[in-house]
Symmetry: C2
Subunit: 531 residues, 2 copies
């Protein structure tokens, strides 16, 4: 016995097998290690997990969806029953406040997401059943028949946790076993979630190996989790370099890889709205850019502000807020190093610090919010460097000279999760807004008007995704049921298959009133002979 | 002037720029070159084409869909007007019969497909509009905002031609410019189609550079067409090695790559049906396996036949047909070499020739249909080698001992486009069929009962696709509107965007009666305030 915590592998919590190291959580405010030690899994443990997931995939694929729904529902209930304890350990491991965040925002979001998956499973809304009566063909999305690996990020210990978040719920809803590689910065939170999840799984009568949990996996073993044909798909949320390394392994093995990697989420403030309410926008921007110490995928990292008097006033107002801002704590020392390196890269490319910044020089992972600025012309001379993501409470203002330069800036953007426009209420900015929308539309997943990008609603019309390199595929969202589920599904066509051999959702009779597209029209009725 | 035919680049038919070679069609029956010479494009030509496509993408993305529909409709009309001439040149270049195939099957299929794309564009069925009134979010699939490259295969000079087939129609329907790299074995057919297409494009008032055509591109230039961020997506139909080489380039650049690469399309003949109609099945199998000289992606390449008396009788009946079959002509000498190499690989792994085969030893690309057989146990000892695709009129019979071995064989299959089951009409095979369906379902795109796989209907419930390595993504079909269009689309979410700034399909009022999912229910009515 090493005294380390147990992993969830092959259907049970068990002691580590041939681990290659250990990890611990840290108090971000002090940098001190906290809580027990957790194993970093080695090759043998990972092989065991994959073998167990593969072995269970066939049964799990054929599971009655009602059991899947019962599991996800039981899990959501279980999380709520331990909400206070979960918030406490997540707070200790991440430094995120219990309120307003972990207990009252992120945890309800997480259980709400699990319950939206339940609804999608029961309504079959993710499965897009299509019936062509004349052609004798029917199709529906179904399980991959192989396990899905989920890699969770550091910044949402509940809502994007590999054992509780959207990727997890999505993969399970499509009836795929999940191997959860949780983030090593919040192992205690993840273990607690994993224990609730596993109990709910067993209570629902599902195979005990259908979900597994590893805290840390050496990069030398990641090929087992993403780079072989035994794996059906991968969900990854995290930084770009780690994501691209895993993506290369998945690509080589033909494994669909859904990454949500990086985004600077440009925001355009148009001339009219700056005249109307520049001061209020300065506060709105500052709050969004520094919320959660700026550690959001949809943090507004780049602001395009016209070089007008109102634009100058806005920048001054924003700068005064950054100057006056208290120090903030990041999740880790690595995070702080990456943030500093990103700021250095932005400055090397010509951005100037106009407010805040500087190293607090105290224990823990503290930083000062910082505002940078650069000329539009300068930005256009080196748009790649000046789109370096600074993951933290740092914003870059790009000052644009006229509509044409603002449009050129929009054309220079890489794929992003979001782009935002603020325009005057009286319509005077609408022509400029329309022109920018045309340019920004294909470059981002979500286009936002008059609102900061940091809120990501769990909505069927959400796209928390976007063109590469924001993600690996422009057609899928990682948040929002039922769309997020379809990432982990295969398209199953049935040709000339008699009613009795079809899955129930494709049979003529439709007692559950499922929405199906029958001969081009959506219907909740029966099909064919029974129609 | 080299006297070579012109390429369609940057909006006009023009003489080649710095080509690196030339190509000509051949008469497959004699191996003699026919028709004029066509340029093999070099780097500069390909760069010109990509630059022109990128330049036009913004305008094309914002095109009124009705113009797109008018183009596709005009193109279909134009093809019909020149149907006889098209069939004549395609027959000369491919050796496929004018009837029953090019003129009366494949050409109508091609125009039908273009018209299904027209319908999908007008009905917005590919775009999946979603409205969340409470959340203030709306989403719809839209263009990539970048060009799509399409690589056409050798085996369908019309229906999968890069300038006329499903990938072409799909990419255009989603309002993406297309660079068509047609197959070098039928350049004359492709040029003819390209001229009709371009005239229809211009007549519809669309940008002249929105479609481009290249006959041959040196592999050293393929990075330009697939491996850079300027490209929005790729459709490829062809062999596995070429497909994987391109896929690696696309993957590294984050470009979605849809490949339809290889498939052996296993067919299970169950015990009862062999007793009931084994002789008829032998004819059905022989016809399907040798149709079009076996050069179909869905050719039934592997048959699982139980080791019963009725199974023996079936194999004998099939063998006699292969023995008596006339020689058949393939598309090319390369095709013949690949086929012979595949048969050699199958035999090296333990398959035995039981009928037909042998080299006709005459000019042109002639082969004799061939039937091979192998024991179930032997198959299970080396399933990878015994799944080598033999692209031509060659079948491999795997003799299975009992249901358990048949199921083990099913479990050993790689991803395939199709799997087929034949079962007795009286239900005696249905238990065995159900067990096999569970195993085969996640391994194939289309599951077929009592019918050979070679027919691929252009149906909304078709999946001409399947898990890797049959394709690059298990969730998409390359045939069947509207699904095939969605491959070349991005998910566009709109957050808090006022009605006037939304695309018309997402506004409250729905004068066209488009099917939209509003707050979880499909509706053709208005939304929100207007609802």
């Amino acid at each position: 016995m090493s005294g380390r915590q147990q992993v969830l592998v092959a259907g049970a919590w068990r002691d580590e097998v041939e681990p290659i190291g250990e990890l611990r959580a840290h108090n971000p405010a002090t940098g001190e290690p906290i809580g027990p030690a957790y194993p970093v899994s080695g090759r043998r443990e990972v092989e065991d997990a994959v073998a167990a997931a593969v072995a269970v995939a066939e049964t799990f694929s054929a599971t009655d969806p009602e059991r899947i729904a019962a599991f996800l529902e039981g899990y959501a209930d279980g999380i709520e029953a331990e909400a206070d304890a979960l918030a406490e350990v997540a707070n200790a491991e991440t430094g995120l406040p219990v309120s307003p965040r972990l207990r009252d925002v992120e945890l309800p979001r997480t259980t709400g997401q699990l319950r939206q998956a339940v609804r999608a499973v029961r309504e079959w809304s993710w499965a897009d059943p299509v019936i062509d009566t004349a052609g004798g063909l029917r199709s529906v999305f179904g399980p991959l028949g192989k396990p899905v690996t989920v890699f969770g990020p550091n910044n949402f210990p509940f809502a994007f946790n590999a054992i509780a978040g959207s990727d997890f719920a999505s993969a399970i809803a499509a009836r795929n076993p999940v191997i959860a590689k949780v983030h090593p910065l919040h192992p205690g939170t993840s273990e607690k979630l994993g224990r609730i999840a596993h109990a709910a799984l067993v209570a629902a009568g599902l195979p005990a190996a259908a979900i597994q949990l590893l805290y840390g996996v050496d990069p030398s073993c990641s090929d087992l989790l993403v780079g072989q044909g035994a794996i059906g798909g991968v969900g990854f949320t995290g930084g770009r370099s780690g994501g691209l390394a895993l993506k290369a392994q998945a690509d080589a093995a033909g494994v669909p890889f859904y990454a949500e990697m990086s985004s600077i989420n440009p925001v355009f403030l148009l001339e009219g709205v700056l005249e109307q309410r520049g001061e209020a926008l300065a506060q709105e921007f500052f709050a969004s850019c520094t919320m959660g110490s700026g550690q959001f995928c949809t943090n507004p990292g780049l602001l395009v502000v016209p070089r007008t008097a109102a634009g100058d006033a806005f920048v001054a107002a924003a700068a005064s807020r950054f100057d006056a801002a208290p120090e903030q704590v990041l999740f880790s020392g690595d995070g702080k190093r990456h943030l500093n390196a990103a700021v250095d890269a932005l400055r090397a490319a010509g951005a100037e610090r106009i407010a805040g910044g500087g190293d607090p020089d105290r224990p823990g992972y503290w930083v000062r919010p910082e505002l940078l600025a650069v000329d539009g012309a300068r930005f256009l001379a080196d748009p790649a460097s000046l789109q370096t993501e600074a993951f933290g409470p740092v914003g870059l203002v790009v000052r644009s000279d006229g509509h044409e330069q603002a449009q050129a800036i929009a054309r220079a953007f890489e794929g992003n999760l979001t782009a935002t426009l603020y325009r005057a209420a009286d319509g005077r900015d609408d022509a400029a807004a329309s022109a920018l929308i045309t340019l920004l539309r294909p470059r981002v997943g979500r286009l936002i008007v008059d609102k900061m990008p940091t809120g990501v609603a769990v909505s069927p019309a959400m796209n928390h995704g976007g063109p590469y390199p924001a993600t690996g595929h422009p057609g899928f969202t990682s948040v929002g049921m039922p769309g997020s589920i379809r990432r982990f599904a295969g398209l199953h066509s049935y040709d000339n298959v008699p009613d009795a051999l079809l899955p129930p959702v494709l049979r003529d009779r439709n007692p559950g009133g499922v929405w199906r597209r029958i001969d081009g029209e959506w219907s909740t009725g029966d099909a064919g002979a029974a129609g």
